[in-house]
């Protein structure tokens, strides 16, 4: 009995430590936006002595944030949409149609997962330039989709393969072609995995800094991550404004994540235990 209680306490302490690693920087960010630069230096983590709202107000007062957020949203929306459409179709093909060499092609997609985006910067830049996509949002969207496909195909395929094969037989007898089966049966049954992949792609796209930096040159095209640069002065960085700005901009991603959390867990563990 005593040993059991000790184990339970051990678990709580461990979980609190892990949660702390995530939450402390987050709170520091949120609170940092309320502090003056001097206070931020002396008291980075605690509650502010004087609550200053002007930095948050300035973030909104400067109208550019709405444009930045809109750009981020457009990039994220199309990244998610394209990843889901292409990913599900490809994974559906791999899970239902056996053709010569499909294993090699499948592995080719998966190798993409191991390829770090940072290492591809130079060739990627050249390619985007050759395609004439520099300084356009699609120049950000297309590489993002490409880098996200490996992971999403892996998740989609393992999900599709758990769907009973008799379902496809029944649908064929009912008159379904592959496309109709995909549309009427596979997609409606895949909402948990669609939500999982969608959230991952969305958050990754929302927080992506490197790729927009590489591709975009005009400020009208910037997503919010590049907008941070406007707070970097010649002689110093206004950390409190940056923190306020970051707080405002990551909020949508966090809200969305919390909203979709249930599906993410379902999608990742689905099929692990027979439900």
């Amino acid at each position: 009995m005593f040993a059991m209680r000790k184990i339970r306490w051990g678990k709580y302490i461990f979980l609190m430590l892990v949660a702390g690693f995530v939450l402390v920087p987050m709170f520091a960010t949120v609170l940092g936006g309320f502090k003056s630069l001097g206070e931020l230096r002396t008291n980075p983590f605690g509650l502010p002595d004087v609550w200053e709202f002007e930095y948050y107000a300035q973030v909104f007062a400067d109208g550019s944030i709405w444009l930045l957020m809109k750009n981020s949203l457009i990039i994220a929306f199309f990244s998610v949409l394209l990843t889901l459409i292409i990913g599900t179709m490809t994974a559906f093909t791999f899970s239902h149609i056996k053709f010569a060499g499909y294993k090699y092609i499948y592995n080719y997609f998966l190798i993409g997962m191991m390829f770090p985006a940072a290492a591809a910067i130079l060739p990627l830049f050249l390619k985007i330039r050759d395609l004439g996509l520099l300084d356009s949002l699609s120049g950000v969207v297309i590489p993002q989709v490409a880098f996200g496909l490996g992971f999403s195909i892996l998740l989609f395929r393992s999900f599709f393969e758990q769907l009973p094969s008799e379902l496809f037989d029944a649908a064929r007898v009912d008159g379904c072609s592959y496309i109709k089966f995909y549309w009427h049966v596979i997609l409606p049954l895949s909402t948990p995995i669609l939500a999982t992949v969608g959230v991952f792609v969305l958050v990754a796209s929302w927080n992506n800094y490197l790729l927009p930096l590489l591709v975009l040159n005009t400020e009208q095209q910037y997503p919010w991550t590049l907008g941070i640069m406007q707070y970097r002065g010649e002689y110093g960085i206004e950390w409190n404004r940056i923190l306020a700005y970051v707080t405002v901009t990551i909020t949508p991603a966090i809200v969305f994540f919390l909203f979709a959390q249930k599906y993410i867990v379902e999608g990742l563990t689905g099929g692990a235990v027979k439900g």
Binding site: R172, V173, D174
Partner: protein, 368 residues
């Protein structure tokens, strides 16, 4: 009105796995055919080839005298009920039944007109808005049947539709299927490994083993005149007794069982050169009293084990080297370790060649 014909059908899977070998069968319009056999005998594969879900490696399948080998399932005018029901989990009962009609491009009112009577017939009307997961096993089974019936196909295919149900429900669903078939009179092919389902449902049973047809016949023929030893042993519960015997002829044919002579009154296949054969007798054709038999063969044996099963007793007895099972009304009094007379109905004897396994004996008496 649809007939179905299999002509020299073969199925070979990659790796040279020969699942169905030279399968031939003509099914008449409105007939209820059951494919029966142990698992892995190729019965489901044959059905799936007819449905268009498996490629045909050789031969031709004809529906209504039209070769359908290269047609999609939807073009063959068939409907199928699957073992796992394969209901679409995200659709309501109504949508499940209506799905095929929706794909066929029927209007909402036309779909409604067709779905309602089917739902009524299967008593699904109160459940139409439910999702499959909120249904019991029997209800899901009925939805699967509704989905098949609503398309009014020419041929119904059932792939072990009752094997996921518990015993009680299985009995009632079996009766329902039988009643439905009588009502709609469509050609039906039903795959099962359960001999009770086969015996009760079928107009004709096709017994398969290792991809080959062993016998085709009415349940009565299959039970009373099995064509070979496999069929004889597969059908009937408890299974038929098999006793190795020496076949001999003096004034008539007779066999020796553990030193006791049994005269055969019927016709033995004379082409037979081998003297070694297997005698087959069903446990219910061996009696403890001669009461109802006109001309019984008598044989002596020791009762080794006795089991009371309610209305019957099942006893095992030793005859020389072999053991036989006897089923008798439980009103009879027998004791273990007792030497007793067994009375055998001669008209119910079977004799199988050890070389070919084929039946080589026709009893004289006409079977009732």
């Amino acid at each position: 009105m649809a007939s179905v014909e299999f002509k020299h059908i073969e199925k070979i899977y990659p790796g040279n796995v020969h699942t169905v070998k030279d399968f031939n069968l003509k099914i008449n319009d409105g007939e209820f055919i059951v494919f029966l056999g142990p698992s892995g005998c190729g019965k489901s594969t044959t059905l799936r080839m007819l449905a268009g879900l498996e490629d045909i490696s050789g031969g031709e399948i004809l529906i209504n005298n039209k070769v359908v080998n290269d047609l999609e399932p939807i073009e063959r005018d068939i409907a199928m009920v699957f073992q796992s029901y394969a209901l679409y989990p995200h659709m309501s009962v109504y949508q499940n039944i209506a799905f095929a009609l929706k794909l066929a491009g029927l209007s909402k009112s036309e779909i409604e007109e067709k779905v309602r009577p089917v739902a009524d017939m299967l008593q699904l009307t109160p459940l139409l808005d439910r999702k499959p997961r909120a249904l019991s096993g029997g209800q899901r089974q009925r939805v699967a049947m509704g989905r098949a019936m609503v398309r009014t196909p020419e041929v119904f295919l059932f792939d072990e539709p009752l094997s996921n149900l518990d015993a009680k429900l299985r009995n009632s669903m079996r009766t329902e299927i039988k009643t439905l078939h009588k009502k709609i009179k469509k050609t039906t092919i039903y795959v099962t490994h359960d001999q009770v389902e086969a015996m009760t449902l079928a107009d004709r049973i096709v017994i398969l083993r290792d991809g080959k047809v062993e016998q085709v016949g009415t349940p009565r023929e299959i039970y009373h005149s099995p064509a070979n030893k496999f069929v004889a042993g597969f059908i009937g519960s408890p299974a038929m007794n098999f006793i190795p015997v020496e076949l001999a002829k003096d004034e008539g044919w007779h066999v020796d069982i553990a030193g006791q002579k049994l005269n055969l009154l019927g016709d033995v296949d004379d082409n037979q050169t081998d003297t070694k054969a297997t005698l087959g007798i069903r446990p219910c054709d061996i009696h403890i009293t001669p009461d109802l038999l006109t001309n019984p063969l008598v044989i002596k044996g020791t009762v080794e084990n006795l089991e009371l099963l309610g209305s019957t007793i099942q006893l095992t007895s030793r005859l020389g080297d072999s053991q036989i099972t006897v089923e008798a009304p439980s009103s009879h009094m027998v004791n273990e370790d007792e030497v007793t007379n067994f009375y055998i109905d001669e008209s119910r004897l079977h004799l199988f060649s050890d070389q070919t396994g084929l039946s080589m004996y026709k009893p004289n008496a006409v079977l009732e």
